[in-house]
């Protein structure tokens, strides 16, 4: 009886599971308007807008989850929300990509100045060892 009136809900993000359990109704911000999913809904696949996912629990209470976008997959007995952890928008992504490119270019260009301390220390140790050998060789020959 209970299975007929509930639907299994799973909300997951790339960084971890957010919610898992039965519900009587799920309301999600689909890309073309909010949708409500009741048990035995037809299979549906949609992208999500940033917004809140509302889950009506069998005990009558409601739970809210913020999603930054993502996708929702509906099967008659199961709803899977694949939530984005970050806010996604075309221009935000574009800016992030540009920043990553710039970082790479900068790091490649500044060859001289930016040696890390560890590298500098390693160079120093190598030079010191070479000096020692030279000194020893000199001693032997004199």
């Amino acid at each position: 009886m209970a299975e007929r009136h509930t639907i299994q809900v799973e909300i997951v993000s790339a960084e971890g599971e957010i919610f898992c359990g039965p519900a009587t109704l799920v309301v999600a911000p689909a890309s073309q308007g909010d949708i409500g999913v009741a048990p035995r809904h037809a299979p549906l696949l949609s992208m999500l807008k940033p917004g809140e996912v509302r889950v009506h629990l069998p005990d009558g209470t409601e739970q809210f989850f913020f999603v930054g976008g993502g996708a929702i997959e509906v099967q008659p007995t199961k709803v899977t929300v694949l939530a984005d952890t970050a806010l996604r928008a075309k221009d935000i992504d574009e800016a992030a990509a540009l920043a990553a490119k710039q970082r790479a270019e900068e790091a490649l260009n500044d060859r001289s100045g930016h040696i890390t301390q560890a590298e500098a220390l390693a160079e120093l140790a190598r030079a010191a060892a070479q000096l020692k050998i030279i000194a020893r060789l000199r001693k032997q020959h004199s």
Binding site: G16, A42, L45, T85, K101, R103
Partner: protein, 287 residues
């Protein structure tokens, strides 16, 4: 023979070093556990998205996503290399770099040029010297990498692939097998290998909002991102495990060194006492 005072000073200094290596070992242990948990937490998402992509490709055999279908000729390969930000992790990074160089050589022999993408500071420091184009890089993700820090870097590579600048995309990172073993692993990200659809139940189709092709591409992008995220988290776990082992052997070596020096110290001390006694006895005899 060195004096007792010098030996004692040396013992103290080794003991101090040992304190640091021991502390680093313990920190690495607890961080490793947390990284492993995050690895596990990332799994349901990747599996869920995989399943949906499987359904989608099966339901839409006529749509060929550029991310799924490969290209005949390979002129450029992209390699995303995940490395650590900090050292003192044994041969972990060196192994990953070696594997990357092998992969680059293999494709160079086939006439393809390699373009890299770096996640982690150590990789940047190493590959910068090689005169290989590095398209994007991100460092200092910390012990808890976040998807949002990776998106931009991955997008550069995905866009390059879509625009035909890359014909293959690989991911190299240190695979966490267990605490003692980490192995460099090479994985092909693009074109995405066909996902096994055998296990799926009867064929059905979804209602789509918006079009199936759009959703498929969006999901594939997220799938790749989640794989890179998984690699970054796994690399943290590997880093911590490697550091733990390296620091453990450093602490053990310090213990050995200390006990050896303690022996020398005791001998030197004994020799000094004997010498003093001999002098007293000699002095008394003279009087």
């Amino acid at each position: 023979m060195p004096g007792t005072k010098e030996i004692r000073a040396k013992i103290t200094s080794v003991k101090n070093t040992q304190k640091i290596t021991k502390a680093m070992q313990m920190v690495a242990t607890s961080k490793m556990r947390r990284a492993q948990e995050r690895m596990r937490a990332a799994r349901p998402y990747a599996e869920g998205i995989r399943k949906v992509i499987g359904h989608l490709t099966k339901a839409n055999p006529d749509y060929h996503s550029p991310y799924l279908s490969g290209r005949e000729t390979v002129g450029n390969v992209g390699i995303i290399v995940v490395s650590t930000d900090r050292g003192l992790a044994g041969a972990l990074n060196a192994n990953v770099f070696k594997q990357t160089l092998l992969l680059m050589r293999e494709w160079q022999d086939k006439g393809a040029a390699a373009k890299l993408c770096m996640i982690g500071a150590k990789g940047m420091a190493f590959f910068r010297r090689l005169n290989v184009p590095i398209l994007a890089h991100v460092t200092h993700l910390g012990d808890r990498p976040h998807v949002k820090d990776i998106i931009g870097t991955v997008k550069v590579m995905l866009d390059a692939y879509r625009d035909g600048e890359l014909d293959r995309l690989f991911l190299v990172n240190a695979e966490f097998i267990n605490t003692m073993t980490q192995r460099p692993s090479v994985e092909q990200l693009l074109p995405a290998l066909p996902i096994d659809t055998e296990g799926l139940q009867r064929h059905w189709d979804y209602l789509y909002e918006p079009e199936a092709s759009q959703i498929l591409d969006d999901l594939l992008m997220r799938y790749i991102e989640s794989q890179v995220y998984r690699a970054a988290v796994e690399n943290v776990a590997s880093e911590m495990a490697a550091r733990m082992v390296a620091m453990k052997s450093a602490s053990d070596n310090a213990s050995k060194l200390i006990s050896e020096m303690q022996l020398i110290y005791n001998k030197a001390r004994q020799a000094a006492i004997t010498k003093e006694l001999a002098e007293i006895v000699g002095g008394a005899a003279a009087v």
